[in-house]
Subunit: 205 residues, 2 copies
């Protein structure tokens, strides 16, 4: 029954954790218009990473807005706090040596830069990979899977990103995915190759 | 350069995730007086799990109070919100197939039951393992590593758990660790064996 457990004092270091788990932690932060494909790409990326036996977790509206952030509304201050908390939670996942994937419109440069700064200030700093999922408004509006753009055009939804509220495109994202040039598989490959090139995950044999 | 990525539609199921990563998710929620040994045991448990190449992450005052919950004070409402958020974040880790370890005094039954309920209501339900780190007040007060009990006795800290604020012991914790009967290694072995018995992690060969 002996489990032969021996401990060294103090917490496991980030380097030791990365070595033991075979991956470094990082946050891949998707940003883009509603219906641009953020969630679809993040979901496919999560699948691809898990099939390599790598730990990854996707934060999205479903698991955040109905859980951690269910106390928040949609006024400007609440939206800012929403993104702040997502930044902090993604940082926790990244510091656990997981690859956090966030799939939120996150339309403002300032909010995204705040999340980036949290990762940069962490000891040790953790990679923050901003992925701009760039789909033209005409395309996402024609998709409109939930009828949100239609409602926004009709004035039934106020301050809808791209229609009645601004989307501030990232000036210098780590990855720029133009959805009229690559499909989901192509987008996932781009991110995977980036993670490999950065030494966050190992290249497959 | 082909990465041969193929996807199935939708997200990876929890069962598929557990299979791919070789572990189920769970939250191990330590509760007990200040200086009872919660953090020490959680730190050692995290080490033991990581050395088995299992994903685990410890939430504690350092990574929560200075990050996600830095907007919260210490009034009753803030304390409740502090524990609520910790419950939600541990749920996210558990649903990622990680083993979340929380090491907070969390003195109130109601707050801990709220965290437990979040796990029970999740689809699928996730294990919530309450570990009562039971050290007599006389012992923790004699340890007093940060001099907090002394300050509390002197009235310099108000509402200090065990001195001037109640600690509500868990009536039915999954695991009851009496620190005058087991050392840190013994405590870790108890939790590990529990996780194995529940099929959350595999028994070692």
């Amino acid at each position: 029954m002996a489990t032969n457990i021996t401990f060294h004092p103090g917490a496991v270091t980030p380097a030791e954790r990365a070595e033991l788990l075979g991956q470094k932690g990082a946050t891949v932060w998707f940003t883009g218009l509603s219906a641009s494909g953020k969630s679809t790409i993040a979901t496919a990326l999560e699948q691809a990473l898990l099939h390599r036996r790598l730990h990854s977790f996707r934060l999205d509206g479903d698991n955040i807005r109905f859980g951690l952030n269910k106390d928040l509304g949609f006024d400007p201050k609440s939206r800012e706090e929403n993104i702040r908390r997502i930044g902090e939670v993604s940082l926790l996942f990244a510091s656990s040596s997981s690859i956090a994937l966030t799939a939120f419109i996150s339309p403002y440069v300032a909010d995204r830069e705040l999340a980036r700064a949290l990762h940069a200030k962490h000891d040790p700093p953790l990679p923050f990979i901003e992925v701009f999922v760039d789909a033209p408004l005409s395309v996402v509006e024609s998709r409109d899977p939930k009828g949100l753009y239609k409602k926004a055009r009709a004035g039934e939804i106020k301050e809808f990103t791209g229609i009645s509220a601004p989307y501030e495109a990232p000036p210098k994202p780590e990855i720029h995915i133009k959805t009229d040039e690559v499909d989901v598989t192509g987008a996932v490959e781009i991110v995977i190759k980036y993670l490999e090139a950065q030494g966050i995950i190992k290249a497959q044999q």
